[in-house]
Protein backbone atom coordinates (compact mmCIF):
# COMPACT_ATOMS: atom_id res chain seq x y z
CA UNK A 1 0.00 0.00 0.00
CA UNK A 2 2.98 2.30 0.68
CA UNK A 3 3.97 2.15 -2.97
CA UNK A 4 0.44 2.86 -4.21
CA UNK A 5 0.11 5.93 -1.96
CA UNK A 6 3.61 7.16 -2.89
CA UNK A 7 2.87 6.87 -6.62
CA UNK A 8 -0.49 8.61 -6.16
CA UNK A 9 1.31 11.41 -4.30
CA UNK A 10 3.67 11.98 -7.23
CA UNK A 11 0.73 12.10 -9.66
CA UNK A 12 -0.94 14.82 -7.56
CA UNK A 13 2.35 16.73 -7.15
CA UNK A 14 2.89 16.70 -10.90
CA UNK A 15 -0.67 17.87 -11.52
CA UNK A 16 -0.45 20.93 -9.30
CA UNK A 17 2.96 21.84 -10.73
CA UNK A 18 1.65 21.88 -14.28
CA UNK A 19 0.35 25.14 -15.76
CA UNK A 20 -2.40 23.63 -17.95
CA UNK A 21 -4.33 22.49 -14.89
CA UNK A 22 -4.39 26.04 -13.49
CA UNK A 23 -5.49 27.49 -16.83
CA UNK A 24 -8.49 25.17 -16.96
CA UNK A 25 -9.21 25.69 -13.32
CA UNK A 26 -9.06 29.49 -13.42
CA UNK A 27 -11.08 29.56 -16.65
CA UNK A 28 -13.90 27.49 -15.16
CA UNK A 29 -13.84 29.43 -11.90
CA UNK A 30 -13.92 32.80 -13.67
CA UNK A 31 -16.77 31.78 -16.00
CA UNK A 32 -18.71 30.34 -13.06
CA UNK A 33 -18.24 33.52 -11.08
CA UNK A 34 -19.12 35.73 -14.04
CA UNK A 35 -22.27 33.79 -14.87
CA UNK A 36 -23.25 34.11 -11.23
CA UNK A 37 -22.66 37.84 -11.23
CA UNK A 38 -24.76 38.82 -14.27
CA UNK A 39 -28.49 39.41 -14.06
CA UNK A 40 -30.38 39.78 -17.37
CA UNK A 41 -33.68 41.69 -17.35
CA UNK A 42 -34.03 41.20 -13.58
CA UNK A 43 -35.57 37.79 -14.35
CA UNK A 44 -35.52 35.67 -11.19
CA UNK A 45 -35.62 32.48 -13.32
CA UNK A 46 -32.35 33.43 -14.99
CA UNK A 47 -30.45 31.78 -12.15
CA UNK A 48 -31.50 28.36 -13.52
CA UNK A 49 -29.79 29.04 -16.84
CA UNK A 50 -26.73 30.28 -15.02
CA UNK A 51 -26.64 27.14 -12.89
CA UNK A 52 -27.00 25.04 -16.04
CA UNK A 53 -24.06 26.79 -17.71
CA UNK A 54 -21.89 26.56 -14.58
CA UNK A 55 -22.62 22.85 -14.06
CA UNK A 56 -21.99 22.10 -17.74
CA UNK A 57 -18.60 23.82 -17.43
CA UNK A 58 -17.80 21.83 -14.30
CA UNK A 59 -18.70 18.62 -16.14
CA UNK A 60 -16.56 19.49 -19.15
CA UNK A 61 -13.63 20.57 -16.96
CA UNK A 62 -13.92 17.42 -14.86
CA UNK A 63 -13.78 15.25 -17.97
CA UNK A 64 -10.88 17.20 -19.48
CA UNK A 65 -8.86 17.02 -16.24
CA UNK A 66 -9.58 13.29 -15.79
CA UNK A 67 -8.81 12.31 -19.39
CA UNK A 68 -5.91 14.74 -19.92
CA UNK A 69 -4.17 13.83 -16.68
CA UNK A 70 -4.64 10.08 -16.91
CA UNK A 71 -3.81 9.68 -20.60
CA UNK A 72 -0.22 10.81 -20.16
CA UNK A 73 0.60 8.92 -16.94
CA UNK A 74 1.86 5.51 -18.13
CA UNK A 75 3.10 6.65 -21.59
CA UNK A 76 5.15 9.41 -19.91
CA UNK A 77 6.63 6.90 -17.44
CA UNK A 78 7.73 4.75 -20.38
CA UNK A 79 8.86 7.60 -22.62
CA UNK A 80 10.89 9.34 -19.89
CA UNK A 81 11.99 5.92 -18.61
CA UNK A 82 11.11 6.85 -15.04
CA UNK A 83 9.35 3.48 -14.90
CA UNK A 84 12.74 1.73 -14.63
CA UNK A 85 13.99 3.10 -11.30
CA UNK A 86 10.42 2.69 -10.05
CA UNK A 87 10.09 -0.98 -11.02
CA UNK A 88 13.62 -1.62 -9.72
CA UNK A 89 12.09 -1.09 -6.27
CA UNK A 90 9.80 -3.73 -4.74
CA UNK A 91 6.89 -2.39 -6.76
CA UNK A 92 4.66 -4.61 -8.90
CA UNK A 93 3.14 -3.34 -12.13
CA UNK A 94 -0.31 -3.72 -10.57
CA UNK A 95 0.73 -1.27 -7.86
CA UNK A 96 1.85 1.22 -10.50
CA UNK A 97 -1.61 1.02 -12.12
CA UNK A 98 -3.37 1.36 -8.77
CA UNK A 99 -1.16 4.30 -7.75
CA UNK A 100 -1.80 6.09 -11.04
CA UNK A 101 -5.53 5.49 -10.72
CA UNK A 102 -5.65 6.69 -7.13
CA UNK A 103 -3.57 9.79 -7.91
CA UNK A 104 -5.70 10.82 -10.88
CA UNK A 105 -8.96 10.07 -9.08
CA UNK A 106 -7.98 12.01 -5.95
CA UNK A 107 -6.74 14.92 -8.08
CA UNK A 108 -10.12 14.99 -9.87
CA UNK A 109 -11.87 14.85 -6.49
CA UNK A 110 -9.89 17.86 -5.24
CA UNK A 111 -10.65 19.79 -8.42
CA UNK A 112 -14.39 18.96 -8.12
CA UNK A 113 -14.47 20.10 -4.48
CA UNK A 114 -13.10 23.51 -5.48
CA UNK A 115 -15.43 23.77 -8.50
CA UNK A 116 -18.51 22.89 -6.46
CA UNK A 117 -17.41 25.27 -3.71
CA UNK A 118 -17.46 28.07 -6.29
CA UNK A 119 -20.76 26.85 -7.68
CA UNK A 120 -22.35 26.58 -4.23
CA UNK A 121 -21.21 30.07 -3.29
CA UNK A 122 -22.42 31.59 -6.55
CA UNK A 123 -25.81 29.87 -6.72
CA UNK A 124 -26.38 30.13 -2.97
CA UNK A 125 -25.71 33.85 -3.00
CA UNK A 126 -28.35 34.24 -5.73
CA UNK A 127 -31.00 31.85 -4.39
CA UNK A 128 -30.38 32.34 -0.68
CA UNK A 129 -30.61 28.67 0.14
CA UNK A 130 -27.87 26.08 0.45
CA UNK A 131 -28.90 22.51 -0.46
CA UNK A 132 -25.58 21.08 0.74
CA UNK A 133 -26.70 17.43 0.65
CA UNK A 134 -27.75 17.83 -2.99
CA UNK A 135 -24.40 19.38 -3.85
CA UNK A 136 -22.62 16.55 -2.06
CA UNK A 137 -24.57 13.86 -3.93
CA UNK A 138 -24.02 15.57 -7.28
CA UNK A 139 -20.30 15.96 -6.62
CA UNK A 140 -19.96 12.39 -5.38
CA UNK A 141 -21.77 10.87 -8.36
CA UNK A 142 -19.69 12.92 -10.78
CA UNK A 143 -16.54 11.81 -8.96
CA UNK A 144 -17.62 8.15 -9.18
CA UNK A 145 -18.30 8.60 -12.90
CA UNK A 146 -14.82 10.09 -13.33
CA UNK A 147 -13.42 6.98 -11.59
CA UNK A 148 -14.85 4.85 -14.42
CA UNK A 149 -13.52 7.32 -17.02
CA UNK A 150 -10.04 7.20 -15.43
CA UNK A 151 -10.14 3.39 -15.53
CA UNK A 152 -11.07 3.56 -19.20
CA UNK A 153 -8.23 5.99 -19.98
CA UNK A 154 -5.69 3.86 -18.09
CA UNK A 155 -6.74 0.83 -20.13
CA UNK A 156 -6.41 2.92 -23.29
CA UNK A 157 -2.95 4.10 -22.24
CA UNK A 158 -1.56 0.55 -22.24
CA UNK A 159 -3.29 -0.33 -25.53
CA UNK A 160 -2.71 2.77 -27.68
CA UNK A 161 0.78 4.08 -28.34
CA UNK A 162 0.06 7.82 -28.33
CA UNK A 163 -1.62 9.60 -25.39
CA UNK A 164 -3.42 11.95 -27.82
CA UNK A 165 -5.11 9.09 -29.69
CA UNK A 166 -6.07 7.46 -26.40
CA UNK A 167 -7.53 10.72 -25.06
CA UNK A 168 -9.49 11.36 -28.26
CA UNK A 169 -10.91 7.83 -28.46
CA UNK A 170 -11.93 7.80 -24.79
CA UNK A 171 -13.47 11.28 -25.07
CA UNK A 172 -15.57 10.14 -28.06
CA UNK A 173 -16.65 6.99 -26.19
CA UNK A 174 -17.53 8.90 -23.00
CA UNK A 175 -19.45 11.64 -24.83
CA UNK A 176 -21.18 8.94 -26.89
CA UNK A 177 -22.27 7.10 -23.72
CA UNK A 178 -23.39 10.32 -22.05
CA UNK A 179 -25.51 11.34 -25.05
CA UNK A 180 -26.76 7.99 -26.36
CA UNK A 181 -26.27 5.51 -23.52
CA UNK A 182 -29.82 5.65 -22.21
CA UNK A 183 -31.37 5.46 -25.71
CA UNK A 184 -29.47 2.43 -26.99
CA UNK A 185 -32.12 -0.08 -25.89
CA UNK A 186 -34.80 1.91 -27.77
CA UNK A 187 -32.55 2.07 -30.83
CA UNK A 188 -32.05 -1.71 -30.59
CA UNK A 189 -35.82 -2.32 -30.71
CA UNK A 190 -36.04 -0.61 -34.10
CA UNK A 191 -33.22 -2.66 -35.65
CA UNK A 192 -33.44 -5.99 -37.51
CA UNK A 193 -31.43 -8.96 -36.29
CA UNK A 194 -28.44 -9.36 -35.84
CA UNK A 195 -27.93 -5.58 -35.39
CA UNK A 196 -30.54 -5.59 -32.63
CA UNK A 197 -28.57 -8.15 -30.57
CA UNK A 198 -25.34 -6.25 -31.15
CA UNK A 199 -26.84 -2.94 -30.02
CA UNK A 200 -28.41 -4.67 -27.01
CA UNK A 201 -25.04 -6.23 -26.16
CA UNK A 202 -23.43 -2.77 -26.30
CA UNK A 203 -26.23 -1.37 -24.13
CA UNK A 204 -25.58 -3.94 -21.41
CA UNK A 205 -21.78 -3.86 -21.77
CA UNK A 206 -21.00 -0.14 -21.62
CA UNK A 207 -20.83 1.62 -18.25
CA UNK A 208 -23.88 3.86 -18.08
CA UNK A 209 -22.15 7.10 -17.22
CA UNK A 210 -25.30 9.07 -18.01
CA UNK A 211 -26.86 7.76 -14.77
CA UNK A 212 -24.36 9.90 -12.87
CA UNK A 213 -25.45 13.11 -14.53
CA UNK A 214 -27.87 14.54 -11.98
CA UNK A 215 -27.37 18.18 -12.88
CA UNK A 216 -31.06 18.68 -13.65
CA UNK A 217 -31.95 17.75 -10.07
CA UNK A 218 -29.91 20.73 -8.86
CA UNK A 219 -30.96 23.10 -11.60
CA UNK A 220 -34.67 22.50 -10.98
CA UNK A 221 -34.29 21.95 -7.23
CA UNK A 222 -35.84 18.46 -7.43
CA UNK A 223 -35.14 15.95 -4.65
CA UNK A 224 -32.10 13.85 -5.54
CA UNK A 225 -32.16 10.03 -5.77
CA UNK A 226 -32.55 8.15 -2.48
CA UNK A 227 -29.52 6.96 -0.54
CA UNK A 228 -30.08 3.34 -1.61
CA UNK A 229 -29.88 4.33 -5.29
CA UNK A 230 -26.92 6.52 -4.44
CA UNK A 231 -25.16 3.53 -2.83
CA UNK A 232 -25.98 1.25 -5.78
CA UNK A 233 -24.64 3.82 -8.22
CA UNK A 234 -21.42 4.01 -6.17
CA UNK A 235 -21.13 0.21 -6.19
CA UNK A 236 -21.80 0.06 -9.95
CA UNK A 237 -19.02 2.59 -10.63
CA UNK A 238 -16.68 0.76 -8.24
CA UNK A 239 -17.24 -2.57 -10.01
CA UNK A 240 -16.68 -1.03 -13.47
CA UNK A 241 -13.54 0.80 -12.34
CA UNK A 242 -12.20 -2.42 -10.78
CA UNK A 243 -12.92 -4.39 -13.99
CA UNK A 244 -11.17 -1.76 -16.10
CA UNK A 245 -8.14 -1.72 -13.77
CA UNK A 246 -7.98 -5.51 -13.89
CA UNK A 247 -8.03 -5.42 -17.70
CA UNK A 248 -5.29 -2.75 -17.62
CA UNK A 249 -3.16 -4.96 -15.40
CA UNK A 250 -3.69 -7.98 -17.69
CA UNK A 251 -2.35 -5.99 -20.65
CA UNK A 252 0.42 -4.17 -18.76
CA UNK A 253 1.84 -6.99 -16.65
CA UNK A 254 3.85 -8.56 -19.49
CA UNK A 255 4.11 -5.58 -21.80
CA UNK A 256 7.67 -4.73 -22.92
CA UNK A 257 8.80 -1.39 -21.54
CA UNK A 258 10.46 -0.02 -24.71
CA UNK A 259 13.95 -1.09 -23.67
Amino acid sequence: MNAVIAIAGVVITELYRRKDFYVLFVLTAVITLLTGAVNFFNDPQIVRYLKEIALLLIWISGLVIAIGTTARQIPAERENRTIFPLLAKPVARGQVILGKFLGCWLACGLALIVFYLFFGLVSGSREHHWPLVNYFQTLWLQWMMLGVVIGLVLLGSVVFAAPSSNATIVLVIVVGILLLGSHLNQVALQQPEPVRSIVYAIYFLVPHLEWYDVRDFIIYDSPLPGWADFGLATLYAGVYAALLLFATWLVFRRKPLNL
Binding site: R17, A88, K89
Partner: protein
Protein backbone atom coordinates in the same frame (compact mmCIF):
# COMPACT_ATOMS: atom_id res chain seq x y z
CA UNK B 1 29.83 -17.18 1.72
CA UNK B 2 26.21 -16.25 1.01
CA UNK B 3 25.25 -16.01 -2.67
CA UNK B 4 23.57 -12.67 -3.30
CA UNK B 5 23.04 -12.77 -7.05
CA UNK B 6 22.80 -15.82 -9.25
CA UNK B 7 21.80 -16.64 -12.80
CA UNK B 8 21.33 -20.22 -13.97
CA UNK B 9 21.47 -20.98 -17.70
CA UNK B 10 19.90 -17.59 -18.32
CA UNK B 11 18.78 -17.08 -21.89
CA UNK B 12 17.01 -14.06 -23.33
CA UNK B 13 15.75 -13.97 -26.89
CA UNK B 14 14.12 -11.07 -28.69
CA UNK B 15 11.66 -11.40 -31.59
CA UNK B 16 13.03 -10.95 -35.11
CA UNK B 17 13.41 -7.32 -36.15
CA UNK B 18 12.61 -8.08 -39.80
CA UNK B 19 10.77 -10.79 -41.74
CA UNK B 20 12.93 -13.80 -42.48
CA UNK B 21 15.26 -13.18 -39.54
CA UNK B 22 15.30 -15.63 -36.68
CA UNK B 23 14.90 -14.71 -33.02
CA UNK B 24 17.95 -12.89 -31.68
CA UNK B 25 19.57 -14.30 -28.54
CA UNK B 26 20.83 -11.39 -26.43
CA UNK B 27 22.02 -13.62 -23.58
CA UNK B 28 23.02 -17.26 -24.05
CA UNK B 29 22.94 -19.67 -21.10
CA UNK B 30 24.61 -17.29 -18.69
CA UNK B 31 25.73 -18.63 -15.33
CA UNK B 32 26.87 -16.05 -12.79
CA UNK B 33 27.26 -16.10 -9.04
CA UNK B 34 28.09 -13.08 -6.89
CA UNK B 35 28.81 -13.53 -3.20
CA UNK B 36 28.14 -11.17 -0.30
CA UNK B 37 30.62 -8.32 0.06
CA UNK B 38 32.04 -8.60 -3.45
CA UNK B 39 32.45 -5.78 -5.94
CA UNK B 40 31.72 -7.51 -9.23
CA UNK B 41 32.46 -5.92 -12.59
CA UNK B 42 30.24 -7.01 -15.47
CA UNK B 43 32.06 -6.15 -18.68
CA UNK B 44 31.50 -6.45 -22.38
CA UNK B 45 31.41 -4.37 -25.54
CA UNK B 46 28.23 -2.52 -26.55
CA UNK B 47 25.46 -4.97 -27.42
CA UNK B 48 27.13 -7.82 -25.54
CA UNK B 49 24.08 -8.44 -23.33
CA UNK B 50 25.10 -6.63 -20.13
CA UNK B 51 22.07 -4.36 -19.92
CA UNK B 52 19.73 -7.20 -20.93
CA UNK B 53 21.11 -9.30 -18.07
CA UNK B 54 20.61 -6.39 -15.67
CA UNK B 55 17.09 -5.90 -17.00
CA UNK B 56 16.29 -9.52 -16.19
CA UNK B 57 17.79 -9.14 -12.70
CA UNK B 58 15.62 -6.08 -12.13
CA UNK B 59 12.45 -7.72 -13.43
CA UNK B 60 12.08 -5.44 -16.49
CA UNK B 61 12.46 -8.32 -18.94
CA UNK B 62 11.45 -11.95 -18.55
CA UNK B 63 14.01 -14.61 -19.36
CA UNK B 64 13.22 -16.90 -22.30
CA UNK B 65 14.65 -19.79 -20.30
CA UNK B 66 16.79 -20.31 -17.23
CA UNK B 67 16.37 -18.38 -14.02
CA UNK B 68 17.82 -15.56 -11.96
CA UNK B 69 17.77 -15.00 -8.22
CA UNK B 70 18.52 -12.12 -5.85
CA UNK B 71 19.06 -13.20 -2.23
CA UNK B 72 17.71 -16.60 -3.26
CA UNK B 73 14.37 -15.13 -4.42
CA UNK B 74 13.26 -15.41 -8.05
CA UNK B 75 13.69 -12.00 -9.70
CA UNK B 76 10.13 -12.16 -11.04
CA UNK B 77 8.92 -11.56 -7.47
CA UNK B 78 8.90 -7.83 -6.58
CA UNK B 79 10.06 -8.69 -3.04
CA UNK B 80 13.42 -9.81 -4.55
CA UNK B 81 14.14 -6.09 -5.03
CA UNK B 82 13.51 -5.14 -1.38
CA UNK B 83 17.24 -5.12 -0.51
CA UNK B 84 18.73 -3.77 -3.72
CA UNK B 85 19.59 -0.32 -5.02
CA UNK B 86 19.69 0.39 -8.76
CA UNK B 87 21.39 3.21 -10.58
CA UNK B 88 20.51 3.36 -14.30
CA UNK B 89 23.01 4.49 -16.91
CA UNK B 90 21.08 7.69 -17.60
CA UNK B 91 19.06 9.79 -15.21
CA UNK B 92 15.45 8.66 -15.36
CA UNK B 93 13.80 10.57 -12.53
CA UNK B 94 10.77 12.81 -12.07
CA UNK B 95 12.36 16.09 -13.07
CA UNK B 96 9.58 18.19 -11.48
CA UNK B 97 10.56 16.87 -8.03
CA UNK B 98 13.42 18.22 -5.93
CA UNK B 99 16.17 15.84 -4.81
CA UNK B 100 14.68 15.81 -1.33
CA UNK B 101 11.19 14.99 -2.67
CA UNK B 102 12.59 12.27 -4.91
CA UNK B 103 14.32 10.58 -1.98
CA UNK B 104 11.20 10.94 0.17
CA UNK B 105 9.14 9.32 -2.61
CA UNK B 106 11.42 6.29 -2.77
CA UNK B 107 11.65 6.13 1.04
CA UNK B 108 7.85 5.96 1.15
CA UNK B 109 7.88 3.10 -1.37
CA UNK B 110 10.12 1.14 0.98
CA UNK B 111 7.85 1.99 3.90
CA UNK B 112 10.64 3.76 5.80
CA UNK B 113 9.18 5.70 8.77
CA UNK B 114 9.19 9.49 8.38
CA UNK B 115 11.80 10.27 11.07
CA UNK B 116 14.18 7.60 9.76
CA UNK B 117 13.59 8.76 6.18
CA UNK B 118 14.50 12.34 7.20
CA UNK B 119 17.75 11.11 8.76
CA UNK B 120 18.67 9.04 5.68
CA UNK B 121 17.80 11.85 3.27
CA UNK B 122 20.04 14.30 5.18
CA UNK B 123 22.89 11.78 5.29
CA UNK B 124 22.63 10.80 1.62
CA UNK B 125 22.35 14.35 0.33
CA UNK B 126 25.53 15.15 2.25
CA UNK B 127 27.22 12.02 0.92
CA UNK B 128 26.50 12.91 -2.72
CA UNK B 129 27.12 16.62 -2.05
CA UNK B 130 23.65 17.81 -3.03
CA UNK B 131 22.76 19.29 0.36
CA UNK B 132 22.88 22.95 -0.82
CA UNK B 133 20.55 22.25 -3.78
CA UNK B 134 18.16 19.81 -2.10
CA UNK B 135 15.15 22.13 -2.64
CA UNK B 136 15.83 22.72 -6.35
CA UNK B 137 13.93 20.76 -9.01
CA UNK B 138 16.03 18.00 -10.57
CA UNK B 139 15.50 19.47 -14.04
CA UNK B 140 17.79 22.38 -13.03
CA UNK B 141 20.68 20.01 -12.13
CA UNK B 142 23.71 19.32 -14.30
CA UNK B 143 24.19 15.76 -15.57
CA UNK B 144 26.71 14.97 -12.84
CA UNK B 145 24.34 16.29 -10.16
CA UNK B 146 21.48 14.21 -11.58
CA UNK B 147 23.70 11.13 -11.54
CA UNK B 148 24.55 11.81 -7.88
CA UNK B 149 20.85 12.24 -7.08
CA UNK B 150 20.40 8.85 -8.74
CA UNK B 151 23.08 7.35 -6.55
CA UNK B 152 21.35 8.76 -3.46
CA UNK B 153 18.01 7.20 -4.48
CA UNK B 154 19.78 3.87 -5.03
CA UNK B 155 21.01 4.01 -1.42
CA UNK B 156 17.81 5.21 0.31
CA UNK B 157 16.86 1.72 1.53
CA UNK B 158 20.39 0.99 2.78
CA UNK B 159 20.63 -1.85 0.24
CA UNK B 160 22.76 -4.96 0.63
CA UNK B 161 23.23 -5.17 -3.14
CA UNK B 162 23.82 -2.28 -5.52
CA UNK B 163 23.28 -2.75 -9.24
CA UNK B 164 24.97 0.06 -11.15
CA UNK B 165 24.64 0.33 -14.91
CA UNK B 166 27.66 2.30 -16.14
CA UNK B 167 27.56 4.63 -13.12
CA UNK B 168 30.31 6.95 -14.39
CA UNK B 169 29.08 7.20 -17.97
CA UNK B 170 29.14 10.79 -19.16
CA UNK B 171 30.65 12.17 -15.96
CA UNK B 172 33.70 14.43 -15.83
CA UNK B 173 36.86 13.12 -14.11
CA UNK B 174 35.85 14.70 -10.79
CA UNK B 175 32.38 13.17 -10.97
CA UNK B 176 33.90 9.78 -11.84
CA UNK B 177 36.26 10.02 -8.89
CA UNK B 178 33.39 10.83 -6.51
CA UNK B 179 31.32 7.87 -7.72
CA UNK B 180 34.40 5.64 -7.38
CA UNK B 181 34.93 6.89 -3.82
CA UNK B 182 31.34 6.09 -2.95
CA UNK B 183 31.68 2.56 -4.39
CA UNK B 184 34.88 2.09 -2.34
CA UNK B 185 33.10 3.32 0.77
CA UNK B 186 30.21 0.90 0.18
CA UNK B 187 32.69 -1.91 -0.31
CA UNK B 188 34.23 -0.93 3.05
CA UNK B 189 30.78 -1.21 4.61
CA UNK B 190 30.52 -4.78 3.32
CA UNK B 191 27.92 -4.07 0.61
CA UNK B 192 27.80 -6.13 -2.56
CA UNK B 193 28.16 -4.13 -5.76
CA UNK B 194 27.37 -5.46 -9.23
CA UNK B 195 28.23 -2.97 -11.90
CA UNK B 196 28.85 -2.64 -15.60
CA UNK B 197 31.36 -0.19 -16.95
CA UNK B 198 33.47 0.62 -19.97
CA UNK B 199 36.09 2.29 -17.75
CA UNK B 200 38.40 -0.69 -17.41
CA UNK B 201 40.97 1.15 -15.33
CA UNK B 202 38.25 1.96 -12.85
CA UNK B 203 37.05 -1.64 -12.85
CA UNK B 204 40.57 -2.87 -12.19
CA UNK B 205 40.83 -0.48 -9.24
CA UNK B 206 37.58 -1.24 -7.46
CA UNK B 207 36.49 -4.77 -8.46
CA UNK B 208 37.24 -8.03 -6.67
CA UNK B 209 36.00 -10.16 -9.55
CA UNK B 210 34.94 -9.55 -13.13
CA UNK B 211 33.01 -11.35 -15.84
CA UNK B 212 33.41 -10.52 -19.51
CA UNK B 213 30.61 -11.35 -21.92
CA UNK B 214 30.56 -11.01 -25.67
CA UNK B 215 27.60 -11.64 -28.00
CA UNK B 216 25.57 -12.88 -25.04
CA UNK B 217 28.11 -15.53 -23.98
CA UNK B 218 30.22 -15.56 -20.84
CA UNK B 219 33.85 -15.54 -22.02
CA UNK B 220 35.76 -15.28 -18.79
CA UNK B 221 35.11 -14.91 -15.10
CA UNK B 222 37.50 -14.64 -12.20
CA UNK B 223 39.41 -12.55 -9.71
CA UNK B 224 41.00 -9.48 -11.27
CA UNK B 225 44.42 -10.28 -9.79
CA UNK B 226 44.25 -13.89 -11.06
CA UNK B 227 43.25 -12.83 -14.59
CA UNK B 228 46.03 -10.24 -14.75
CA UNK B 229 48.59 -12.81 -13.55
CA UNK B 230 47.32 -15.53 -15.88
CA UNK B 231 47.29 -13.36 -19.04
CA UNK B 232 50.37 -11.29 -18.12
CA UNK B 233 48.44 -8.20 -19.23
CA UNK B 234 46.24 -5.49 -17.78
CA UNK B 235 42.45 -5.74 -17.81
CA UNK B 236 42.08 -3.62 -20.93
CA UNK B 237 44.42 -5.86 -22.92
CA UNK B 238 42.64 -8.96 -21.62
CA UNK B 239 39.28 -7.45 -22.56
CA UNK B 240 40.39 -6.57 -26.09
CA UNK B 241 41.87 -10.02 -26.61
CA UNK B 242 38.72 -11.75 -25.42
CA UNK B 243 36.37 -9.76 -27.66
CA UNK B 244 38.63 -10.58 -30.60
CA UNK B 245 40.18 -7.18 -31.22
CA UNK B 246 43.65 -6.81 -32.66
CA UNK B 247 45.34 -3.62 -33.91
CA UNK B 248 45.28 -5.05 -37.47
CA UNK B 249 41.52 -5.74 -37.29
CA UNK B 250 39.10 -8.26 -35.79
CA UNK B 251 40.52 -11.77 -35.36
Amino acid sequence: MQTILETRNLRVEYPAQAKGQGRKAAVKDLNLRVSAGEVFGFLGPNGAGKTTTMNVLLGFVNATSGSAFLFGVDVREPIARQRIGYLPELTYYYKFLTAEELLRFYARIFGIPRAEADRRIDRLLKLVELEPVRKRPIRTYSKGMQQRAGLAQALINNPDLLILDEPTSGLDPLGRMKVREIIQRLKGEGKTVFFSSHELGEVETVCDRVAIINQGELKVEGRVADLVAEHQANLEQIFLKIIGYSPEGPT
